[in-house]
Structure formats: C-alpha cells, structure tokens
C-alpha cells in the first residue's frame, strides 16, 4: 500500500539498495497473512481463541526451518459488527502485501465482507461462521470455508436425537443470525424426522432472565429443550432450567461446545448435555494432539475455544498454499480451489465448487464428568449412563 509519497518510497528503495549487500544468505522473504475475528465484545472469547490458534499456526511455521517464507500475521477486530467488518476487510483486502486471510466467526460480518474479498481477489477461508449463505450465497472463487455449515450440524442433530427416542421439543434460540439460522434448519430437519416442536422462543442475545420462557416450556413438558445460540446464553438457560425444576434433556449446538460452558454451568448441571460440532474431534486426529500440546506450550492466556482448531487448520491450509504456489493471491485462490482430501487437524478438507468443505464431518458430543466426550466413546452410548428422561 502506497500511503506515503513516491519520493519516500524511492528513498527507501535507495537505502535498501545500499544495505542489500548486508543481507544474510538464509534471510527469508516476508509474507503477510491476516486474521479477522471478534476480539472485543460479547463473543470475544471465541474470537481471541481463534486468533491465538491462527497465531500459533504462523509461529510454528516460522519455527520450521524448511518453510520458504517468513510469515507475519495481521490480526484485526471485527467487533462482530458488519460495518466494522467491512472496514477491516477493506483494509486487509486493499493491502496487496497480504496474501491470504483466515476470517470471520460472525456470519453477518462474513456476509458483508465476501464481496470485498471478491473485488480485491483476496483468497480467504472462513474459520467459524456457520451460515450456509457465506459460501452458497455467492459464486466467488476466493471464498472458502473449512468448517461445516449449520445445515450439516442440524441434519445430524435431528436424526440423532430422534433416534434416541425423543418425541417433543421446545426450541429457544437467540435472535442473531446464528441462533435464527439454527432454529430454521433444526426445525426443518426435526419435522422431517418426525419430531414435534411444541414451542419456539426467540430471545435477544444479551438476555439474562429466561424464567418466563422456561416456565412456559415447563408447562408444555417437552422431552428436549433445544438451544440455538452461544455459550453465555446456553449457560444461563441450563442453570435456570434447574431453578424451575425442568428435567428435560438439554441439547445445544456447536456454539456451546466449549469448556467454558461446563465451567459456567458447573459439572453437575452440565452432565448429559449434548451438542454437535463439525469436524472430527481434534484429539482423535494425528495432528490434533499436536495442536493441543502446542497451544498449551505457546502459553496463551485464553483457551482456544470450539473453533480454534478450525482457525489453526485454515491458517495452515493457507500457509501450505503459499509455500506451494508462492505469495500470489490469484495462484493461492486457484490452489485453494483445487483442495481435495487435504489432511488437517479437523479432518479431511475438500472444497466443493462454492469453496465449502464438504467432508466436514459432524461429531456428537456429550458432557460426562465435566468433560465433553465424543458420544460413541461415552458411557451414555454404552448404556451405562442415560440421557435425561430415558
């Protein structure tokens, strides 16, 4: 970006020419990559976790003597607001020295920003936003997504829960794009699978008190309370269910699959809560263990949260691409377009013609003794423990 005058540039060029002789033989070219996520505000925990994970990918790559380039991460805060998102997206996209981007947890921000990436030919991969339209709502070849959409997640969730024998649901969702999207797709798949929705409550994402909704839910006596939203609200609803003596099964979405959900609710109340997350469980994959260890070793103050592994995988994908085709946006876009069967810490990645990762497997989780455990490995699957109402 040429912010400063042309003469300044030539002056710099001149001085660089003078010092060129001093270059070490093994000095690598610098390449910039970027990260965008919500680093302030209500969902900043996830954003900071994502940023740390992306940062980790860059650090590890820079520590690798075989890497061709030295990478620099430019991380930006979208505040989870579309207008700010468009601003930072423009800033990053317009900076030609940035080759690739790992961006967006908030779908509304991603929706506003994709046009800009297309306009500036900046290849990017979404690391957390789950709204299908981010990839399917356009034909931009620059846009990719390593995580699955809420469609896959709810498809699996609806099937799984009806298979467990549950019949009736009360849905509570927040009124953001995230919660409303989940509500829409889960309702759709649940009806297909024969489940019945007794009531559907939309609540603002900053609501504290759910006793009114839950009292009404209690009267309807559903088998399951489905919550479409993020950890903070999920914690409140689970805690308040207890207050009102609601014994129904609590079912969440990917947004609550975090350790902070269990910390917030406490081990007792979180026991038996189920949720669903795209991708294979991190610790099951060969690289996953490595990620978890390295993340701990890097000494980040904050946890990586549910989507950290995706940010790590997406960043690695982009770094691999740059290593392969060089620091060139168009070539990187093409490289990403051809990704098929790429091994990552969240499982195999294959992009379809919309840049959506198709093999984003959905993993079912249940809380057992204060930990998220893959359903198949849990004592619930073996029948040793039972979900609520079974």
């Amino acid at each position: 970006m040429k912010f400063l005058s042309k003469s300044a540039v030539s002056a710099i060029a001149f001085s660089m020419a003078l010092t060129a002789g001093a270059h070490f033989a093994d000095a690598k070219d610098k390449v910039k990559v970027a990260f965008i996520g919500p680093l302030t505000g209500g969902v900043s925990a996830v954003g900071v976790g994502g940023r740390n994970s992306a940062e980790l990918a860059v650090q590890l790559r820079n520590a690798d003597p075989n890497a061709k380039y030295e990478y620099e991460l430019v991380a930006m805060d979208s505040e989870c607001k579309p207008n700010v998102g468009v601003q930072v997206a423009t800033k990053i996209a317009a900076d030609r020295s940035i080759i690739g981007l790992v961006g967006h947890y908030c779908s509304a921000v991603a929706m506003g920003a994709v046009d800009i990436y297309h306009k500036f030919n900046l290849p990017m991969s979404v690391w957390g936003a789950v709204l299908p339209d981010v990839t399917y709502g356009n034909d931009y070849k620059e846009i990719h997504r390593v995580n699955g959409t809420m469609i896959n997640q709810n498809d699996v969730a609806a099937k799984f829960m009806t298979e467990q024998g549950y019949k009736t649901w009360v849905i509570i969702h927040d009124t953001t794009d995230y919660g409303k999207g989940h509500d829409k797709y889960f309702s759709e798949y649940l009806t297909q699978n024969g489940g019945e929705i007794l009531a559907d409550f939309g609540v603002p994402a900053d609501q504290q008190d759910f006793t009114a909704e839950l009292t009404k839910a209690k009267q309807l006596n559903p088998d399951v309370i489905y919550f479409g939203g993020l950890t903070p609200l999920g914690v409140r609803i689970r805690a308040q269910m207890e207050k009102l003596g609601i014994t129904a099964q609590f079912q969440g979405v990917s947004g609550i699959k975090s350790d902070s959900f269990i910390d917030g609710v406490g081990a007792d109340l979180s026991e038996g809560v189920v949720s669903f997350l795209e991708g294979a469980p991190v610790d099951k994959l060969p690289g996953g263990q490595y990620f978890t260890e390295k993340y701990k070793a890097a000494g980040f103050a904050e946890s990586e949260e549910a989507y950290g592994p995706f940010a790590f995988a997406a960043m690695n994908l982009i770094l691999d691409g740059i290593e392969e085709v060089g620091p060139n946006r168009k070539k990187l876009t093409k490289y990403l377009g051809d990704i098929h069967g790429y091994e990552s810490i969240v499982g195999e990645i294959s992009f379809d013609d919309h840049g959506q990762n198709t093999v984003a497997a959905i993993t079912k989780y249940v809380v057992q003794d204060g930990k998220w455990v893959v359903w198949e490995d849990s004592e619930y699957a073996t029948g040793k423990r039972k979900l609520a109402g079974k």
Binding site: V203, K218, T231, V235, R236, A239, D263, G264
Partner: protein, 306 residues
C-alpha cells in the same frame, strides 16, 4: 392458565422486578442528590458480583467452606468494595463535572462502564467467559402442580425487600437520610445549614453502589451464572425503570422496576405474537407511559420558580 403456572410467573416476575428495582434505586438516589445519571451503575454491579465471586474463590481456597460464612463474606466484600468504588467514582468523575452539561456526566460514566467491563473481560482470569456462581443458599424446593418454589428464591426475595426497606428507612428516618434529602431539595440551602455537601454526595454514591453490588450478588445466587456483560442491559433497564417510576423517588424506582419485569414477563408469555417481540413490546410501553406521564408515574416534584 392454571393457578400454579400463574403463581410461577408471578414469583419469577417478582424476582426480576426486585433486581431491577434495586438497580433503579441507585439511579434515583444519584439523581436525587446531584441531578446526574451515572450510567456505569450496571457495570459497577457487575464488578461487585465479580468481587463477591473472587471472595468465594478465596475463601474456598483457604478452606472456609461453611456456606453461611461464605455468603456473609461475599456480601460484605462485594457491597463494601463497591461502596468504596462508588464514592471514588463520585469524587473523581462525577463531582468534577458538576458544572459541565449534564450529558457530559452521562457520557463519562458510560465510558467508565466500558472501562470496567473491558477491564474485567481482559484482566480477570478467563474473564471473557461466563462463570459459575455458587449456590450458597439452601436449595430445597416445594412443588405444587406446575408451581415450584425454591427456598433460595424466597430468601433472595426477602433479602431484596429488606434492603429496599432499609434504604427507605435510612433515607426517611435517619440524620444521614435527612441530610441526603436536604441536599436533594436544594443544594445551596443544605450547605447553609452546615451540611457537608461533598460528603453527602460521596455517601449517597457509596450507598447506591453498595445496593447495586447486593443486587449483583443476588443475581449471581439466583442465576448461578455471571459474566462481564451482565451489567450493561441491567443498567439500561434499571435506568428506564427509574425514569418510568419518576426520578428522585424511591417508590417510583421500585414501581418502575416491577413494572418493567411485569411487562417483560407478560410480553414473553401472554402476547399473541412471537415472544421474541417482548422487548419491542416492553420498550414501546415504556415510551407510551412516558408520553402519558412525562415526569414518571410518581411525578417528580418540580419547584421551578417563574
């Protein structure tokens, strides 16, 4: 709707209303003595709750596990530290701006709210995630049909009521209260009568902030969950409640608090359209009430001389 369910809604609504009322009382006190709105009130509540939470963690760490002692410790530390914080805010942010336009105070305290919120988010260990607040009260419950009453809810309701009564007695029956009322009536006259104006303002802010901290701990005990953003909406609602009730009047604040809780509950359960509109409904009613009673339900006494 059966009676048990109705009872459940009433109890829930009262709980919510009590918390709003406690926040609104603070707004009304500050406005009374200084004609200012201290918008960081909700965030002071949040900081108070975190102070209480830390006390609990600290006491557990040193091996004090008697729930009652813990509760007392949590309350004392939370209320005490917020009273000090409230007085500091009054001394260094509110009083210096006394002669500036009133909107300035509002903005400064709003910014202070942001500072408090961000500070907890960034500097409290894992502060950006919700925390599990312990149940320190007995959790026995009685069920009657669809009506469940828990012992902790009852204790909290009574506790809240006692605090409100206590504040009321303090304002109306004590020398300190007399001084606060005198300052609220007319600052100049109060000064002439030998009342230490500054001290009264600081004490009032300490009182209001202490009440907010109590409401925060109550919030934590009731919902068993606290987070850095909990004060923001609570502050806005408390402010609206104080306004709807009529600023400068404790009964107005209580009325406003319960009214707002009632509207939200009503909006969530009884509206013919989707419950997601309940806040739209509650705020629309607030606007309508203010249009109808421009100085609040219990009108503020205006003594403007022409």
């Amino acid at each position: 709707m059966d009676v048990g369910l109705l009872g459940q809604f009433v109890v829930n609504g009262m709980m919510l209303g009590m918390m709003y009322a406690l926040v609104a009382v603070g707004f009304t006190l500050f406005f009374g003595v200084l004609d200012v709105i201290k918008f960081s009130h909700g965030d002071v509540l949040m900081v108070g709750t975190f102070a209480g939470f830390s006390t609990y963690l600290g006491m557990t760490a040193i091996g004090i596990d008697n729930a009652f002692i813990q509760l007392v410790g949590v309350l004392v530390i939370a209320v005490g530290s917020m009273a000090i914080l409230g007085a500091i805010i009054a001394r260094y942010l509110v009083l210096p701006l006394k002669s500036a336009p009133p909107l300035n105070t509002l903005l400064v305290t709003l910014m202070l709210g942001t500072v408090l919120r961000e500070a907890i988010r960034l500097f409290y260990p894992d502060g950006s995630n919700p925390k599990h607040f312990p149940s320190l009260l007995p959790t026995e419950s009685w069920s009657l049909g669809s009506f469940t009453l828990r012992a902790d809810s009852v204790i909290l309701l009574i506790g809240g009521l006692l605090v409100i009564i206590g504040v009321n007695v303090l304002i109306n029956r004590t020398r300190l209260g007399l001084a606060i009322r005198a300052v609220a009536q007319d600052e100049e006259t109060a000064k002439c009568m030998g009342i230490n104006f500054k001290m009264i303002v600081l004490l009032t802010f300490a009182l209001g902030s202490g009440v907010a901290a109590f409401a925060g701990v109550m919030n934590g005990l009731y919902y068993n969950e606290i987070n850095f953003g909990m004060g923001l909406l609570l502050g806005v609602i408390g402010f609206s409640a104080a306004i709807v009730g009529g600023l400068g009047n404790i009964y107005g604040a209580i009325l406003g608090g319960f009214l707002f809780a009632g509207l939200q509950t009503l909006g969530a359960v009884a509206l013919p359209f989707a419950s997601a509109y309940k806040d739209v409904f509650a705020f629309a009613v607030v606007i309508a009430i203010i249009a109808w009673r421009p100085t609040g339900l219990i009108a503020e006494k205006t003594s403007e001389r022409v």
